[in-house]
Amino acid sequence: MSADVELNNISVTFGSFYAAKNVSVKINQGEFFSFLGPSGCGKTTLLRAISGFLDPSEGKVLIAGQDMAGIGPNKRPTSLIFQNLALFPLMSVSENIVFSLEVRGVGKQERQKRADELLDLIALSGQGDKKVHELSGGQRQRVAIARALAIEPKVLLLDEPLSALDLKLRQKMRTELRAIQKRVGITFIYITHDQGEALTMSDRVAVMNEGELEQVGLCDDVYDFPHTPFVATFVGENNPFYGKVVSVEGDKIRVESHNNTFVAKSGKTGDGKNHSFSTGQEVIMFIRPESIFIKNENTQLDNTFKARVNTVEFEGNIKNIYLKINSKMNVRFSVPNAVDTSNLSNNKDIELTFSSQKAVVLPKGSLAVD
């Protein structure tokens, strides 16, 4: 059984500090939903409010339509997976997994049966008698998942459980987590600061900053249509072009920036409408590194600009090329590894091009600081 989770205007304050501010979001039944944001943005606070370890100062948490106020974490239909997993080191793997059944007075035989089932689910059959410290990092991760699933919660809450793993294992666990979620079919609420994790696993993501929701939406929508400069720069890489609106033609905005005039599409607001811009307004136009190309006979899009090559950086599957438009404006673009960049020597002036469909104009606002 799965349940939906509704956060109704949640605020959490510590003294005069807002750890979360007026957060309202509805997470659907059976959905894989991620809260994505930098550290200290309030995402863990929200998770603790959902799990019951923290009472929101204002607002309500509803799980399956039921108000959770006054219901402790041991009585909620949620299970939490901690960042450090918090497995019990003095118990065996099986004892860990069925601890929730033990405290509910389930008999030993039934517990053993359930432990074996769950060990099968996480592909650790026959390893139930081991102690936790005898397992590898990835295996411990899976034990923590099994332990959380043992009581068949309606909602599983995950607090950056992959952050301690190395890259390869993390990528493997992403796929595995997603597969487990599909198999058990319950609502997963995932907290992370790693946008790669959020985008690969989730059905929808909520981007948070300083305690507030910046944007909630499908992964590709958040990536392609950021609502705020923060989202544009926190999710994925982006080049911010500061400038002024020259003219507005429907959803096409003409922007002057660094002595170039670009055409870009208008960014959207939270309710799906275009931002309204006026001539002369200060804006930022965002264009992603992978949407910029070197201009040649075959590649000519509706925006072009000139820049000087600064450095070429090899990253494996892609190459990053850092350019200077002038002393104030740096631009980065990336090309697949196969592209020949031997002609891009330092200080060479080149011409670049990008499509107005890939550039987004947003009102001026604060960017995500790396």
Binding site: S51, F53, G72, P73, N74, K75, T78, S79, L80, F82, Q83, N84, A86, L87, F88, L90, M91, F99, S100, E102, V103, R104, R147, A148, A150, I151
Partner: protein
């Protein structure tokens, strides 16, 4: 002292002479009493010895029950500032000499002492309770005397427990009692064993507190040892009795290690 306990009590001139041989006479005296006595066993000394050990065990258990919640509160519940304040409040009384602390308790518990006066004035009782004759004063004094030696090992052990484990247990539906039983106590067992052994040994070996607070009918084994050494000038018998007390303390330590399945290194840590 071990050697002395196996030698007869001789006047100084005869020591090292032909009569100064190894003998079990003092241990025999502990069990069977003096040769002039009509009883089959030395009921008085054995009684005092058993009473001391049993009371010391009771005091240790009492101490553990009392200190565990305090230590847990300090380690996991209290905010850092109030935990520090609590530690100071616990330590300050121990700046005062043990003898003085015992006398202070005597003043509290005396027939016309502070506690009785308060109880009478609020009309709870009509006549004063004889706390000292009932040995309540003694138990309180002994429990309080070594409270820090129980609290600090417990505090250290509980403090090192990852707080997330407590939350994880709670999240999985565990009640407070069960979380303590399955998570906190197993984690803190080395601290519990360490605190219990220290409190037991010091309680069984206490002298000042029993002298000041025990009822006229209660004798503490250390008082006997003191008498053999100082009043009867029988050092070898005093030694034998001391060795007996020491042996029981060592057995107690080994027993605690067995019960809590900890190694000596963990206790010392």
């Amino acid at each position: 002292m071990l050697d002395l306990s196996f030698r007869p009590n001789l006047p100084p001139l005869l020591r090292g002479g032909p009569d100064d041989v190894h003998t079990l006479v003092h241990y025999k005296h502990f069990i069977f009493g003096s040769e002039t006595s009509e009883d089959a066993y030395n009921y008085v000394d054995i009684g005092v010895f058993l009473n001391t050990i049993i009371t010391a065990i009771l005091v240790t258990v009492l101490n553990l029950c009392f200190c565990y919640p305090i230590a847990f509160y300090m380690a996991k519940v209290a905010k850092p500032n109030s935990a520090r304040l609590l530690i100071v409040a616990l330590i300050i009384p121990f700046w005062i000499n043990e003898l003085l602390r015992s006398f202070a308790l005597r003043i509290l518990f005396a027939g016309e002492g502070v506690i009785n006066n308060i109880l009478i004035s609020i009309g709870f009782i009509d006549t004063g309770i004889n706390f000292i004759a009932m040995d309540i004063a003694l138990y309180t004094g002994l429990t309080y005397a070594y409270i820090l030696l129980m609290i600090f090992p417990l505090y250290n052990a509980i403090e090192s427990l990852d707080t997330n484990q407590l939350e994880a247990a709670k999240d999985l539906g565990s009640s407070t009692f069960r979380t303590h039983w399955r998570i906190v106590i197993p984690h803190a067992k080395a601290g519990i064993a360490s605190g219990c052994t220290m409190v037991f040994m010091l309680t069984a070996g206490a002298l000042a507190t029993p002298v000041v607070l025990s009822s006229p009918n209660t004798y503490w084994f250390t008082q006997l040892i003191y008498q053999w050494f100082n009043m009867n000038d029988n050092w070898s018998r005093g030694s034998a009795y001391s060795i007996l007390l020491l042996s029981v303390s060592v057995v107690f330590v080994l027993l605690m290690m067995r019960i809590f399945k900890v190694k000596i290194g963990e206790i010392i840590r």
